[in-house]
Amino acid sequence: MTGYALRRLGGALIVLFLLSVLVYLLFYVAPGDPARLACGPRCNAEQIRQVQDQLGLNEPLLTQYLHFLQGVVSGRDYSTGTGVLHCHAPCFGLSYQNDQPVTELLSARLPVTASLALGAMVLWLLLGVGTGLLSALRRGGTTERVLTVLTLTGTATPVFITGLLLLMIFCAYLQWLPFPTYVPLTEDPEQWAWNLLLPWTALALLESAKYARLTRSATLETLAEDHIRTFRAYGVRERTVIGRHALRGALPPVIALNAVDLGAMFGGAMLTETLFGLPGIGQLLVHSVRSVDLPVVVGAVLAIGAAVVLAGAVADVLYALADRRVTLT
């Protein structure tokens, strides 16, 4: 188990390293001059050159990248023109736009994205697994049909349309819910939940059809297995057979897919975040790409990458815990 964790960690570091190289290269070939954008529209050529010097943009690509790595490992000093700013390790640089350390920007936004992703996950599991189970057991029932149509429509509709519809109905016309603004969980749990309810729903609708299909097929598969016949032949109630044995057999793939999806939510929810005005990591990434804010982009991509890689490892461990026949090597 320890050996497995170490190997996974090593693999994760390699992935993140390659990811950072890739992002650096992409930005080097991409159009747009960060210095001009950072300096503002009224800067002249002289001023832009100064900003370029200050940001280290004149150095060769490799040097820039090595400086970046050095910052991650041991911290790094920045001259701001008026003084020296020390950025503690792990330092992913300062934003070109406002000189804020990237780590600070990210850690301010992490709780928002995490709240969004985790809450949405609970909803999509309830909706998806519930629909899947229903459609496995009562094929053709009204409830099952309604739920299937609902989840499929949710998946087929872009999130900015579902989201806008939800906003229009619940915030504008019915006025049951506030227009979402992020309230930290630590400040006011109730407001936190009310404000996030709509974004959660939008994401859950998007994801749940996948879970409904997976749960349905896995449950049907388990129901056809011999051990289900055994429990039926021993007079166990159908309810118990399904709840205790069939669903249990269907869980491992659901757990594995869920962990991966959760990881992907950290970067993939940018549309939802932008639409509902939630200051999350996805939104940060969109802004920084638009303003060619390289350090923030690299930091955000690495944070998202770390979440995905971590989720993959967690999925493996959970799968092995859910199905003891699987051993991690």
């Binding site: 297995e225 011999d226 051990h227 016949r229 055994t230 429990f231 039926r232 032949a233 021993y234 007079g235 166990v236 109630r237 118990t240 205790r244 044995h245 249990r248 057999g249 859910a322 199905d323 003891r324 026949r325 090597t329």
Partner: protein, 563 residues
């Protein structure tokens, strides 16, 4: 006279045809079947696959309810009209009055829960007032009763941590949990080794003597029935062809079908007439190099060894095996599952690389040859696999499957390939016009014939047959064995015949090697080894083989009980 425990009258079961099919495609699996079973007695239901025997067993608990099968007639178990019983009463019957055990003990237990908990769950279904604690204690008791050592600890194991025999014991423990009056066993030992089979049958026998429960034993193996039941019902195509006391049916069968079935059973004690190995009459195609003289060593293995896995997970499947296969002879390889016979067989045709040791083919070392140098020899070393259903590509026609090795051997002329594939199909007893049919259109025996035709295609000298008949019914088994014998004589082939069934091996082999835990423990001419086994393991194996005479079976059981 007491009321019968089981009373089946005019049972008829029809499985509807699939959706969209015509109603007349419905399959009548059981037809006009009647029998009774007195309390405490044991009935064997015997038949080949498709005879409807398992369908009958399932009907005793009305397991067909809700599946769409049409069940007619009446079934009474312990006075309850099973087919008409309301759901609640049926549940009380299932497991409470009559408990069922199944063929494949691995898939018949839930892989996700501890074995003790599964037994406890069943116990609580029938004793709702029992707490989880008492139910678990009862489960441990039951496991202990069926001979699971250290039952309190092993009750917490999951099914995959049990061996096949232990799982079947656990299933029996589950059946015992509610002290049923009837046990229904559907092929309970088919997936097990012969020694484990004997243990399980002994256990059932013992439990029956102790608890006076009735037994319905469904099996395809007449030997299993002989020592375990009082009466036998022989089924064919859904109907009873013969029904009577076990001694009578097995020693003086009345129905022609029963006679046929008995004649097809290979006997472990029967000496086979062996014609001297003649020179090959006509080869389907002349082999590329000069044929070896009969008796000349064809394959010689010395100190062969094969390991799997790395470091801590390393296991040795075959260890220090030396053997010789001579031209024109059949070498039988017997052993229980996990003894390494398949690994050894695959090494002999170089499907697996030996970890150590030397392997010579006609005097030339081939154990360490690379794939490229091996290529010209590949066609001379061929293999026939156990499961003809999964070893043929379901998406290719049988003709294409037979033609594949010809193409692999470098034959380019398409017309010649097709002609030869048709010849081969005909040679193994199939209609060459079936060239364009797919494997699912054939029966198990026919598929195995295709597998043999495919192995023969490149004109091999050595054919390793890995359990070629163990998935087949006895009558089909006999036909395939006959075909292999014929081919060997006609083509001057050498055969290595791998099987766990000792009787089958005796029927086809000239010499036999007994494997255990990766090693050959005994080797010699087949009659010598079978009639005068030297190694205690061989003696144990032979003593565990079910015999057809109920009296002898009882004597052997008594002997095993003493031992």
């Amino acid at each position: 006279m007491t009321a019968p425990l089981v009373e089946v009258t005019d049972l008829a079961i029809t499985f509807p045809a699939g959706e969209g099919a015509r109603p007349e495609d419905a399959v009548r699996a059981v037809d006009k079947l009647s029998f009774t079973l007195a309390p405490g007695r044991a009935l064997g239901i015997v038949g080949e696959s498709g005879s409807g025997k398992s369908t009958v067993a399932a009907a005793l608990l009305d397991l067909h309810r809700g599946t769409g099968a049409r069940v007619g007639g009446t079934v009474r178990v312990d006075g309850l009209d099973v087919l008409a019983a309301p759901e609640a009463e049926l549940r009380r019957l299932r497991g409470g009055t009559a408990a069922m055990i199944f063929q494949d003990p691995l898939s018949s237990l839930d892989p996700y829960y501890a074995i003790g908990d599964q037994i406890a769950e069943v116990h609580r279904v029938h004793r709702p007032d029992a707490s989880w604690r008492t139910a678990r204690a009862r489960a441990v008791e039951a496991l202990d009763r069926v001979g699971i050592a250290d039952a309190a600890r092993r009750a917490r194991s999951r099914p995959h941590e049990f061996s096949g025999g232990m799982r079947q014991r656990a299933l029996i423990a589950m059946a015992l949990a509610c002290e049923p009056r009837l046990m229904i066993a559907d092929e309970p030992t088919t997936a097990l080794d012969v020694t484990v089979q004997a243990q399980i049958l002994d256990l059932l026998h013992e439990l029956r003597a102790e608890t006076a429960m009735g037994l319905v034993l469904v099996t395809h193996d007449l030997g299993v029935v002989a020592g375990s039941v009082d009466e036998v019902l022989v089924m064919r195509a859904g109907r009873a062809v013969e029904h009577g006391p076990v001694g009578e049916v097995l020693s003086a069968p009345a129905a022609p079908y029963t006679k046929e079935l008995l004649a097809a059973v290979p006997r472990v004690d029967a000496v086979r007439e062996r014609p001297a190995i003649p020179a090959p009459r006509k080869a389907v195609r002349p082999a590329p190099s000069a044929a070896p003289a009969p008796g000349e060593p064809l394959v010689e293995a010395t100190g062969l060894r094969r390991e799997f896995g790395r470091r801590a997970a390393r296991t040795t499947a075959v260890e220090e095996v030396s053997l010789t296969v001579r031209a024109g002879e059949t070498l039988g390889l017997v052993g229980e599952s996990g003894s390494g016979k398949t690994t050894l067989g695959r090494m002999l045709v170089r499907l697996l690389d030996p970890t150590a040791g030397t392997l010579r083919y006609r005097g030339r070392e081939i154990g360490s040859l690379g794939e490229r140098q091996l290529r010209p020899l590949r066609s001379e070393l061929q293999m026939v696999f156990q499961d003809p259903a999964s070893s043929l590509n379901p998406r290719r026609t049988i003709g294409e499957s037979v033609a594949d090795p010809l193409r692999a051997a470098g034959e380019l002329d398409d017309a010649a390939i097709v002609r030869r594939a048709r010849e081969l199909l005909e040679r193994v007893g199939l209609d060459p016009a079936w060239y364009h049919r797919y494997p699912h259109e054939f029966s198990g025996g026919q598929r195995q014939r295709v597998g043999i035709a495919r192995a023969l295609a490149p004109s091999p000298r050595l054919l390793v047959c890995d359990e070629p008949v163990s998935a087949l019914d006895v009558t089909t088994q006999a036909q395939v064995m006959e075909l292999l014998g014929e081919l060997r004589r006609e083509l001057g082939l050498s055969l290595v015949f791998i099987a766990h069934d000792l009787a089958v091996v005796r029927a086809v082999s000239d010499r036999v090697a007994v494997m255990r835990a990766g090693r050959i423990v005994e080797e010699g001419p087949v009659d010598t080894v079978y009639d005068h086994p030297q190694h205690p393991y061989t003696q144990g194996l032979l003593a565990a083989v079910p015999v057809l005479d109920p009296q002898v079976a009882a004597d052997r059981r008594a002997l095993r009980a003493v031992a």
